[in-house]
């Protein structure tokens, strides 16, 4: 069964007086274990889509099913719980807690899930190990390189064993080498069966995924279709 099913999703933002449609009738089905990349020029609505998929935002219209469940009319706390249990986030700018060491950063989602301290520590250590940072557990974010920070962030996203990993330009703030390292981790996670949706500007990064979607002016196409407006601006931010 599909882990994620978006049907006719629209998202409007109020800009001045008139509502601006940022996402237009998005239809997207993601099977469990799929690894896909979404590309698109700046302002095309990638992050907006990601926020909807990640239960950070609600669509203006359309239906959203996660693991067969229609998520509709949920309150803030119910959405928080879904994010906590089912979704792992990786952001461009890592978003680590600056005053917590790597281990505590990774353990944070488990705290919100009500996992007891000893188990939190244990699972966080395990997650850090899987991204190759077992020797950096007690480092603060400012003592880590960008690539290491992003690996901590991935460990944090994975520690709760989510159904879906969402990454919004995970390599956007990294050099090529670190970026490639991240891509290796993603590939490994995908091989282990994780469902991954990754947003990126870079063709080379997108090619790491199994499937590439393009988004243009709020419309989503699969990689096989040619974008209507041909042009370089899908390559460049």
């Amino acid at each position: 069964m599909a882990i994620l099913k978006l049907t006719d999703i629209c998202k409007d933002y109020q800009q001045g007086k008139e509502p601006v449609r940022v996402l237009k009738n998005i239809n997207l089905t993601v099977e469990r274990g799929e690894y896909l990349a979404i590309m698109g020029p700046s302002g095309s609505g990638k992050t907006t889509l990601m926020n909807l998929v990640g239960c950070l935002d609600v669509p203006t219209s359309g239906t959203y099913e996660l693991d067969g469940k229609n998520l509709k009319d949920l309150n803030d706390d119910a959405m928080a719980e879904i994010r906590n249990k089912h979704i792992g986030f990786v952001f461009q700018h890592f978003h680590l807690m600056p005053k917590m060491d790597a281990l505590d950063n990774v353990a944070l989602p488990l705290l919100y899930a009500g996992v007891p301290l000893a188990e939190r520590r244990e699972r966080a250590a395990e997650a850090l190990k899987s991204v190759g940072l077992e020797d950096r557990m007690n480092f603060l974010p400012n003592q880590l390189s960008g690539g290491q920070c992003q690996r901590v962030a991935i460990a944090r996203a994975m520690v709760g064993k989510p159904d879906l990993l969402l990454a919004d330009e995970p390599t956007g703030a990294l050099d090529t080498k670190s970026g490639n390292q991240i891509m290796e981790i993603f590939r490994q996670l995908s091989n282990e069966g994780m469902t991954i949706i990754m947003i990126t500007h870079e063709q080379s990064i997108a090619e790491c995924a199994d499937k590439i979607y393009h988004i243009l002016d709020g419309e989503l196409r699969t990689g096989d279709e040619e974008p209507e407006k041909g042009g370089g601006d899908s390559e460049e931010a």
Partner: protein, 418 residues
């Protein structure tokens, strides 16, 4: 929760200067309240101690006319009032809680009393054998009255140390002659309140309280009182009771008994006996000083309000500063309540800490004032507890708005700002 408190301390520690400045309003407010309360309490305890002494539980029952103490200095013998008999004295002693009863005559103005050419303007008493021990007087030099003084109507007197100063210029009065209402009396002893009962005069209030005895007192055996003054003067009564708790009740019982036995027609007379225990006076004085100080406490309260607003202000800034942190926490599953609690805890810890610092500086300040101005202070544990609880409460109340703002933050907006 413990985690929240730990984090709050961490946050406060990492912004030391800001935290101290934020807490300042609370610190000042609480310190002021603690200082005021300590001073009030200290003064009150002193007043109480001065008035009732440490265990000198005496109730005076006086003849009153129309509600005022009847003073023979200015009036003639009251009509329709009997002299207290030995029998009645026995009855007074039988009242529960009463340990000892003394009957005495007195003049608040001892008219026509001279030593050489100096006129004495203090008080004069005709006392029975119990008087000195009831009030806790000790003979400092010379001797007290003996039974034979009473039996033989000896014209002897005792003086207190104030009278020694005022009448004898500080020289030893023993053996000196004093002329009282034309009769010659010999000074045989000097009395003073025994150390533990001695009042200390530290404030204006105390001064007024003891002003009427400030010219000194002269005591003669009650047996010779009629020689100097008049026969058949109704006496006043001093009752020593077992403890302060029974002062009011024993005093009232004695007053009722005396009114019934001594006044010829008690229902239609404007004379009656009224008890006047020092505890009651002390309480009156205390409530007076308390009411003035209540106003000071209100002013300190305003400082707390201002302090609370300061805390709110800083917490709002803190929420803005930590938007990204809050957004991330919400994104990875923190519920509203958790964020709310985190910020409330932080505000409460901040103000509680301010409260505790305030209490400590308040105590210090009170001690300092006490040392510098000779005002007694007493630390009030209840006031300390209330202060700390109250400052915590201020944190919760003024933290509510910033915390709600943090909890309601939209995670998308919060994450975008970076």
């Amino acid at each position: 929760m413990i985690e929240n408190i730990r984090l709050a301390f961490q946050g406060i520690w990492s912004h030391k200067l800001r935290s101290v400045l934020t807490m300042l309003g609370i610190i000042i407010g609480i310190a002021a309240i603690i200082t005021i309360v300590s001073t009030i309490k200290g003064t009150n305890e002193q007043i109480k101690e001065n008035l009732i002494g440490a265990g000198n539980n005496v109730v005076t029952v006086q003849l009153n006319q129309g509600g005022y103490a009847y003073d023979m200095s200015w009036s003639s013998i009251p009509s329709g009032v009997r002299v207290i008999t030995e029998e009645t004295r026995q009855e007074l002693e039988d009242i529960s809680g009463v340990e000892k009863v003394s009957l005495y005559n007195s003049r608040s103005y001892a008219n026509m009393v001279y030593y050489k050419n100096t006129e004495f303007s203090g008080e004069i008493y005709g006392i029975d054998e119990n008087y000195l021990s009831v009030y806790g007087y000790q003979v400092k030099s010379g001797r007290g009255f003996t039974q034979s003084d009473y039996e033989n109507f000896r014209k002897v007197i005792l003086v207190d140390s104030t009278a020694v100063t005022n009448l004898f210029g500080g020289e030893s009065p023993l053996g000196q002659s004093v002329e009282i209402q034309g009769d010659v009396f010999t000074v045989v002893g000097v009395v003073a309140l025994s150390e533990e009962f001695a009042p200390t005069i530290n404030s204006l209030n105390d001064y007024y309280l003891y002003a009427d005895t400030s010219s000194g007192s002269i005591y003669m055996p009650s047996a010779v009182w009629p020689t100097a003054y008049q026969f058949d003067e109704p006496q006043n009564v001093a009752i020593k009771v077992a403890n302060t708790d029974v002062m009011a009740s024993a005093g009232q019982a004695a007053a009722d008994l005396l009114t019934q036995t001594q006044i010829v027609d008690p229902d239609n007379s404007d004379f009656d006996y009224r008890s006047q225990d020092m505890l009651e006076q002390a309480q009156q004085l205390q409530s007076m000083s308390e009411s003035t100080n209540m106003q000071l406490i209100w002013i300190a309260g305003i400082s707390l309000l201002v302090g609370g607003i300061g805390v709110m202000n800083i917490m709002l800034v803190s929420v803005t500063e930590r938007t990204a942190e809050i957004g991330l926490k919400k994104a990875i599953g923190a519920k509203k309540k958790r964020i709310l609690l985190q910020f409330l805890t932080e505000a409460a810890v901040l103000t509680s800490l301010g409260g505790i610092i305030g209490v400590v500086s308040g105590i210090g300040l009170a001690q300092l004032i006490s040392a510098m101005m000779q005002i007694p202070v007493a630390i009030d544990v209840t006031a300390i507890l209330i202060s700390v609880v109250f400052s915590t409460l201020i944190g919760v109340i003024f933290g509510l708005l910033p915390a709600t703002q943090a909890a309601n933050l939209n995670p998308i907006e919060a994450l975008r700002r970076n």
